[in-house]
Amino acid sequence: MINNLDLEHLRPYGDQLNDGVIQLSFTLPVPAGAKAREAAKRLIESMNFSDVQIVHSEDIGEDFTFFVVYAKTTRDVNYKEIKTLEVEVPKMGMEEINEKVFKYLKRQIVIVGATIGSDAHTVGLDSILNMKGYHGDSGLERYRAFKVYNLGSQVPPIELVKKAREYNADVILVSQVVTQRDIHIKQLTELADILDAEKLRDRVLLVVGGPRITHELAVELGYDAGFGSGTMPSEVASYIVEKMVKIS
């Protein structure tokens, strides 16, 4: 970390330490003009910003005005006192994972994956599960240690639970990518509830991934782990193996 950093009063770095510069962009549903700019400025000032610069404002039709704004926050944050929940796993290679599984479990780990409810996006799920993986990091299907069932998109939670039972799943992996009005929370809760009701919750490792997922949120919803954007398949693989070996 850089010198003279006051971690108890952390502020954004624009081009100087502690300048507090933040960029914002947003739209106000009023016609463009001096009045709209003043409204934008006052709005930002009311949010603990100073030195508000409206660097761009433009009429984007039908009485909407778009703004790009730079401003300095008057606030800071105590970095030292922050504790976060993160999935902590030692990262292992593919061979190491395969060996470990066959040494300790003496069988393949069964993984069932799906996007649930209304979500039709399989991008995240596929990049974790498909052979090809993501950015050169092989997907779980490529590991000898895993037997993967990718159920695809828009699987109702009840159907996912049925399949998990049918395949005798050790791990359920759900992905939620695009959501509106927090519907993903509802769907994830529903899945956890059904697993509870079916007395399956303690028998599976329940994992969720997606751009709006944090480990903290996952734990709050009754999941074992949550993985956000940029998670590599090998991280998920390492986590699963670490947990499974521990359970057995």
């Binding site: 962009s25 947003f26 739209t27 984007i60 039709g61 039908e62 909407f64 778009f66 209304s118 979500d119 039709a120 996006h121 399989t122 991008v123 596929d126 090809k132 950015h135 695809g152 998109s153 828009q154 990518v177 695009v178 959501t179 509106q180 009005r181 519907i183 751009p211 954007s229 940029g230």
Partner: protein
């Protein structure tokens, strides 16, 4: 910029695609579906819901189905009922909805009178569709067709009235096409919801009332911006032909309509989709609705470089199915997409090559080009750069329908400013590089030429294989999008039936006759 393709190979590819679809068409011609019959009911003028909220087109078709009469075709039963009860189709359907009688229990009326009634109802339906079509064609001519590539944006608030606000803003900013995305999973509903709707997830329900509301809004703003504004919706899923019918009645200009999408990505039964797409496309062809095929989806699930030939193969198959439905090539929005991993060296050259291949293979079509989605991340700044390159490929290779990439793809449905930023980006690139494509001569045997030729060769080999095993078996093998579907599985299979000896459908037959595809 000209791509030199081996002419014989292009011809061979088309011939193979024709032979592949000829085989499927034999299955199609023998069959109808619940949805095809509901389509006839709708076009005969049946609309609305019964006291339990069930759409009347479903009510009458289910009534006849339960009574065991559907093999004869709904047209006969409606005509027979109208003659017997001296009612119009709507009055008849309402009575069935109140459970006053069942259509199959009505004694057979004089055959001549029933035939006459069927023809009269068919003629009226054709006239209605023609009126809408002619009105739109006239408007397009008067207001002027915008320059291509058409700027295509999506609205998806879930509330049709909110959609109108956003659509109008988008048109003011420069959008040429407004697509109202459907509420998630509507494609799996075996009925079309009724009336205006204000709640939906990830989109707004496709209903006839919602079509009307958006059409009126766009027709209102079009003269103010001095150009025709097209309206798009989705005719995939279990109600494919019915959606085409209500789109024809409400003057939509485009429909997402793929001959295989539902099978692969929605797990809809193969036979159901093949039969439904035929009637659906007849209606589109007759109504001058441009179809948008869904090949972009394949390379969302499989590798866009290694599997590029599956896109080409599917495009050729979609083209042949459209020809079988009497469609003029200018209404074929042949789909493809810009989905290659941004870290691939020369990814841009691959994209140019693939896009140019689509353009060159379908010179009379209006190709629909789709933006990056697969490698879009939460880094909206990088996403904006990816969309800029996508826009550049589109203008260089002369695409027709250009769906704008959103910098917030993979985060949330577009905010009003996301759409604005996308439109400004596209307008900037389209204007700045307007004649770039026509200034360039491609290096003979260079990367772009070789790649396109290779994709075409691979498509021909794949088509040879598909011809050998049959299209349905090829789908079972997971040829498209790396997804395998079995012939007997999938949703909606119970809604497919073999037409009886006495099946009649004068409406569809008349459309076939007018389109010159009567078999």
């Amino acid at each position: 910029m000209r791509l030199e393709l081996d002419g014989e190979m292009v011809e061979r590819a088309r011939k193979l695609a024709k032979e592949v679809t000829d085989e499927v068409q034999k299955f199609i011609d023998l069959r109808s579906t619940d949805s095809v019959e509901r389509t006839v009911s709708r076009l005969f003028g049946i609309d609305g819901v019964n006291s339990e909220g069930a759409p009347l087109p479903n009510v009458v078709v289910d009534d006849v189905k339960i009574g065991g009469g559907l093999k004869r075709g709904i047209a006969y039963w409606i005509a027979n009922g109208c003659v017997a009860k001296n009612l119009d189709p709507q009055g008849l359907a309402e009575a069935v909805g109140r459970k006053e009688f069942s259509l199959v229990k009505i004694p057979p009326q004089n055959e001549g009178l029933v035939d006459q009634k069927m023809d009269e109802l068919a003629a009226k339906a054709i006239e209605k569709i023609e009126d809408v079509r002619n009105k739109r064609d006239k408007m397009l001519e008067e207001l002027g067709d915008p320059k291509k590539p058409y700027i295509y944006v999506i609205v998806a608030t879930g509330n049709i009235y909110e959609d109108v606000v956003q659509a109008r803003a988008a048109v003011r900013e420069g959008a040429d096409i407004i697509a109202v995305i459907r509420s998630t999973a509507q494609s799996l509903l075996d009925f079309i919801p009724y009336g205006p709707t204000t709640e939906g997830y990830g989109g707004t329900y496709a209903t006839q009332a919602n079509f009307k509301i958006m059409r009126e809004a766009l027709d209102d703003i079009a003269p103010k911006v001095g150009r025709y504004v097209r309206l798009t919706n989705y005719a995939s899923g279990l109600c494919m032909p019915e959606i085409s019918a209500i789109a024809a009645l409400e003057g939509l200009d485009m429909l997402l309509n793929d001959s295989m999408y539902g099978i692969l990505f929605r797990n809809i039964n193969m036979m159901r989709t093949f039969v439904d797409q035929y009637t659906s496309r007849l209606i589109c062809a007759f109504s001058h609705i441009t179809i948008n095929t869904g090949e972009d989806n394949y390379i969302k699930t499989s590798d866009p470089i290694e599997r590029a030939h599956t896109v080409t193969t599917s495009q050729l198959i979609n083209e042949q199915f459209a020809i079988k439905a009497g469609m003029d090539p200018k209404y074929m929005g042949i789909g493809h997409a810009f989905e290659i991993d941004p870290d691939v060296e020369n990814g841009f050259l691959y994209e140019v090559s693939h896009a140019l291949l689509t353009r060159t293979l379908f010179p009379y079509a209006t190709p629909k080009y789709m933006p990056p989605t697969r490698y879009m991340t939460g880094n909206i700044f990088k996403g904006y750069a990816q969309n800029t390159l996508y826009n550049l490929v589109s203008i260089m290779t002369d695409q027709s329908i250009h769906l704008l990439g959103m910098l917030t793809e993979a985060i949330h449905t577009p905010l009003v400013q996301d759409r604005y930023l996308a439109i400004s980006n596209a307008k900037y690139v389209f204007n700045n590089a307007a004649n770039f494509g026509s200034e360039i001569e491609l290096k003979k045997d260079g990367f772009i030429q070789r790649e396109a030729q290779k994709v075409l060769e691979n498509a021909v080999s794949l088509l040879e294989h598909v011809k050998e095993v049959g299209l349905m078996a090829a789908i079972e093998e997971g040829t498209f999008g790396d997804i395998s579907r079995r012939m007997d599985e999938g949703k909606g299979s119970d809604g497919v039936f073999v037409k009886g000896e006495d099946y009649s459908n004068p409406l569809i037959e008349e459309m076939e006759r007018l389109l010159g595809v009567r078999r």
